[in-house]
């Protein structure tokens, strides 16, 4: 297919409430950033999910190589001492 006829893909990030981070929620097709924001509003915030939207061209995302999964991530599996689960958290701290 002719590349020029392909509508670019965008990744959508929604911030559900003030104080929380934008979270990836999916992707969509749009001709440019303005239309991508509108499409994101129409596709991903229909039920009041968002206070703020980011869209990023999927092309701009550099992803890790799935074939390097072993060397990237498996080496951490036996290093449980890196998890902060050996501490007593007082109740007063609440949600962490």
């Amino acid at each position: 297919m002719n590349d020029q006829q392909e509508i670019p893909l965008w990744e959508v990030f929604i911030r559900p409430r003030n104080g929380l981070a934008h979270r990836h929620c999916g992707s969509l097709h749009a001709a440019d950033a303005t239309m991508a924001l509108q499409a994101a509003r129409d596709v991903y915030t229909r039920r009041g999910e968002g206070q703020s939207i980011w869209v990023v061209p999927s092309m701009q995302i550099t992803a890790s190589d799935p074939t390097q999964k072993g060397e990237n991530f498996e080496a951490q599996e036996d290093k449980i001492y890196r998890h902060p689960t050996f501490y007593e958290v007082p109740d007063e701290v609440g949600h962490m």
Binding site: I7, L28, H29, A30, A31, D32, T34, M35, Q38, A39, R41, D42, V43, R46
Partner: protein, 250 residues
């Protein structure tokens, strides 16, 4: 205020929104891309939400026990008083977004004026509809610009849409006896006074879209119940459930 005048003014406004909402809903499952398959029904639902409140209110003003379903689904064709613009077939996507852009631009001004209406429910609908309308204008306006200033084919299709819809623009701003009396009573805006602002808002978008505006003699009729041939087919679809299963509810 005369109840029958009040009723007439509310029902024609409700009819505009329901008939156009129905037309938009025809795109559901058929839009050119998935994103628009959600965007167009979103707009349709906004319009139907506005129509429901207006029908319900109109039924109470009339005082003959008709509810929103009876007003929406069980009148005869000549009793519908929507703008002809709202009942035009969806055409291609260009026709649909241009018609929506025209209507939303009109209603943006209309609802803004309705904030001064002496009808409290109309003021409440206006407060909600102004925000919804602002998005409809923005979304459809962006499409008009991109399709008009897009490829040769999209430009030609948009220009055709401008030509096809041109005769139906004037009716939005036409004052008949009901609209004059409604405006004098302080119920609804004087639509003839919205025309200049509407043109001033629409013209820059069409210019950016490299589309030529076309001025033609307006076709009137919707406000007096004289509809195009397509209206009968629309109502057949729209009324099917209530006529087949009277008083059914979901």
């Amino acid at each position: 205020m005369d109840a029958s005048l009040h009723f007439d003014c509310l029902v024609r406004l409700a009819d505009d929104h329901m008939i156009l909402g129905h037309r938009l809903s025809e795109w559901c499952g058929h839009a050119p891309i998935l994103e628009e398959d959600l965007a167009l029904p979103n707009i349709a639902l906004d319009l139907l939400g506005q129509a429901r409140i207006l029908y319900d209110h109109a039924g109470k003003i009339e005082g003959k026990g008709r509810n929103e379903d009876q007003l929406a689904y069980l009148r005869l064709e000549r009793d519908y008083r929507n703008l002809l613009l709202c009942e035009r077939p969806i055409g291609d996507f260009g026709h649909t977004v241009l018609r929506q852009f025209y209507f939303a631009s009109f209603m943006g001004l209309y609802w803004s004026e309705c904030q001064n209406s002496n009808d409290q429910i109309l003021r409440e609908v206006a407060a909600k509809a102004i925000k919804e309308c602002a998005y409809h204008i923005r979304h459809t306006g962006e499409w008009v610009i991109r399709l008009g200033d897009g490829t040769d084919e999209s430009h030609q299709r948009m220009q055709n849409a401008v030509a096809d819809l041109a005769p139906y623009v004037g009716e939005m701003f036409h004052m008949d006896e009901t609209s004059q009396q409604g405006a004098i009573a302080g119920l609804i805006p004087d639509v003839s006074k919205l025309a200049a602002t509407w043109h001033a808002q629409v013209a820059p978008v069409l210019a950016e879209a490299t589309l030529e505006t076309i001025e033609v003699k307006p076709i009137l009729g919707g406000r007096s119940g004289q509809h195009g041939e397509e209206m009968g087919f629309l109502l057949t679809d729209l009324q099917f459930m209530q006529r087949t299963f009277p008083n059914m509810t979901w």
